[in-house]
Symmetry: C2
Subunit: 377 residues, 2 copies
């Protein structure tokens, strides 16, 4: 059968998506054949001899370079025609779908041509918009989390009030607060939003409440609309729980800020296999529209190194076509006394999310004020 | 502030979710404190002294047992009140959300109480329903994939025809076929479905075409409805690309069979960290409603061991409350000549997905017939 004689994908395809891989090549593995394997696996999923020549030339990934960086570590850059990606799910699939099931492959960069970027609107607020939303022209922003899971709506609203009175910029739900009976979504969102607005009227401040949007397919849009209807201007989302494209669609609505939570992301951060933290949490979360991205800061309860944290910061703020810059939100056990240290290292375009260290103080209004002072505000 | 005095989550909560972990405890790490850390991290995300006593007692995970299994390996079972999980996203979050960002933790089982199971309808067809759909009372089923990406709709429809003439039970799109210009979704679905129906009329067979549902938030439901409107009775979905809850909602519609693809799942399959393959692809994919689950068989192009494959098979078929049994679909480089071997090992409630090995034969009708013969049909 003359397969491959009519396909339209093989024509133009001048624009290419370039993906960078770090390959672990122990025990005499040949990096060139590993790169070749990826180029086929992520496109045609067939042995080379089964692929019609025109498709081999126009659809299969093209190996742009393979270079050794260490005794057993190589990098490879493979480019793919932009036409193979029709949506965000397929982009993620191209990056790591099947090769997730191999070993020793880390994707550490992707460069998208203009045609692919045009589907991705990125943050609708970004650094500038979020600053305007929170009324903070200069200096780093503060974020506190409503916790623990199990508190009633009234109790969570009381926490909101105290953080807002203390001047915290963004007061977000813990990402485990979804729609539990202890504090059902709509009740919680309405009361917490009200508590923050009331405190703002008293202080003249502009603290913002960001409820957690449950990762539920059938209620996601309705919950977002409800939050908006009671005055909410930003929400917390977990892209890997709800699906990256859901977040992209929420961002594209343009009128609500998104703080991305890294739940599940650690699965991708193995030393020799996965997607590099700065690519996933920095570049991809930004591309899908997160205005700020929470990540576990070095020295806290989690595993990222300082280099990885700095790389995430860089990705969120670097020039990226028409895509707005986004805020890094280091978190995961930041001690209040260390905030000046991290502020010095990370710079003012940062949102510092402090949880346990605020709660440990007991008086949340006073603790919040100390944090604001530590931020130089 | 008297936090924790009104919460409703702390009362009843007789029903509990039991999660089993495998903990890597090298270098003098204490497995008990690691289990305790997980119990707090996955619920309250606060240091112990910040958690009000009633919530500590009723929301924080309860360590049911910790046992050593190897010099540096321990298992722990932690139970959580069912009330902390309000939706599927939060269940996945409870299982591995934050602890994904730690290291040396593998979740290998979850037992759900009846109240949690009631939200999960599981496969709407299951083994029995899929057999009826394909008209196969006994014996294993066959599956072929339409590939490669880059073929035109007409070419893909020609492949459909040949596989159907050869008697293949399920002819599915490669999961990289989404909505590319080379073969746009609607055009492809209509023509491939038509080609299979026409071949069925000629042969008297009942081959089924399962198009790949693109992992696109805004078009997912419409694409599903369109497929249904042209007579499609089953689709391929990638739960980790579109989001698990999207698949659950599609399954709950009850009238279309779902074949789950493991794209991205390998991120979770690190030796010492992640979610065990049989839990993710076996139990969870079944719970969300996959009637069949594709996984990379041992000895093919991917990393699973025979033990892991057998465990996935077991999970898909074992009794699980009201949840129907689902088909294992071993794939990823199965050689046709080895099908009898795997049939003998895996048993007849299996769908064998053969890709490259069919294409390598050249004549797809003949190759399909040989495969059917290898299955004893």
């Amino acid at each position: 059968m003359p397969v491959g004689s009519e396909s339209s994908a093989r024509g133009a395809a001048a624009e290419r998506i370039r993906v960078s891989y770090r390959l672990l090549c122990g025990w005499g593995a040949d990096p060139h054949s590993r790169a070749r394997d990826i180029a086929f696996e992520q496109t045609v999923e067939l042995p080379e001899h089964c692929v019609p020549a025109p498709i081999r030339d126009s659809v299969v990934g093209r190996i742009e370079c393979v270079a050794q960086v260490d005794s057993q570590v190589w990098t490879a850059i493979i480019s793919y025609p932009a036409s193979v990606v029709s949506d965000l799910g397929q982009l993620v699939n191209l990056l790591f779908g099947n090769i997730s099931l191999k070993s020793g492959v880390q994707v550490f960069d992707v460069e998208l041509p203009p045609s692919s970027m045009s589907h991705l609107t990125g943050p609708s607020f970004g650094v500038t918009g979020l600053r305007r939303l929170c009324g903070v022209g200069d200096g780093a922003l503060s974020c506190a989390a409503l916790k623990p899971l199990g508190l009633s709506t009234t109790e969570l609203a009381q926490l909101c009030r105290q953080f807002a009175l203390g001047g915290i910029d963004i007061i977000k739900d813990d990402h485990s607060l979804t729609d539990q009976e202890s504090a059902p979504f709509r009740e919680r969102v309405a009361q917490c939003q009200q508590a923050v607005e009331r405190a703002n009227r008293e202080t003249g401040g502009s603290s913002r409440y960001f409820p957690n949007l449950p990762s539920s397919w059938s209620t996601f849009d309705d919950n977002l609309a409800y939050a908006r209807s009671v005055g909410v201007t930003g929400v917390l989302v977990s892209p890997l729980l709800i699906g990256l494209d859901a977040v992209r669609c929420a961002a594209a609505q343009g009128d609500i800020a998104l703080l991305g939570h890294p739940a599940l992301s650690g699965a991708f951060f193995q030393p020799d296999h996965g997607i590099a933290p700065d690519l996933l949490l920095g570049k991809l979360f930004r591309l899908i529209g997160c205005d700020g991205v929470i990540y576990p800061n070095v020295g806290g309860r989690f595993v990222l190194s300082e280099g990885q944290c700095t790389a995430i910061n860089g990705r969120l703020r670097e020039p990226l076509g028409h895509i707005r810059r986004a805020f890094p939100v280091p978190a995961g056990g930041i001690d209040m006394t260390r905030v000046p240290y991290w502020l010095d290292r990370y710079g003012p375009d940062t949102i510092f999310l402090v949880g346990g260290s605020l709660y440990s103080q007991g008086d949340l209004v006073a603790a919040s004020r100390i944090l604001m002072k530590a931020l130089g505000r």
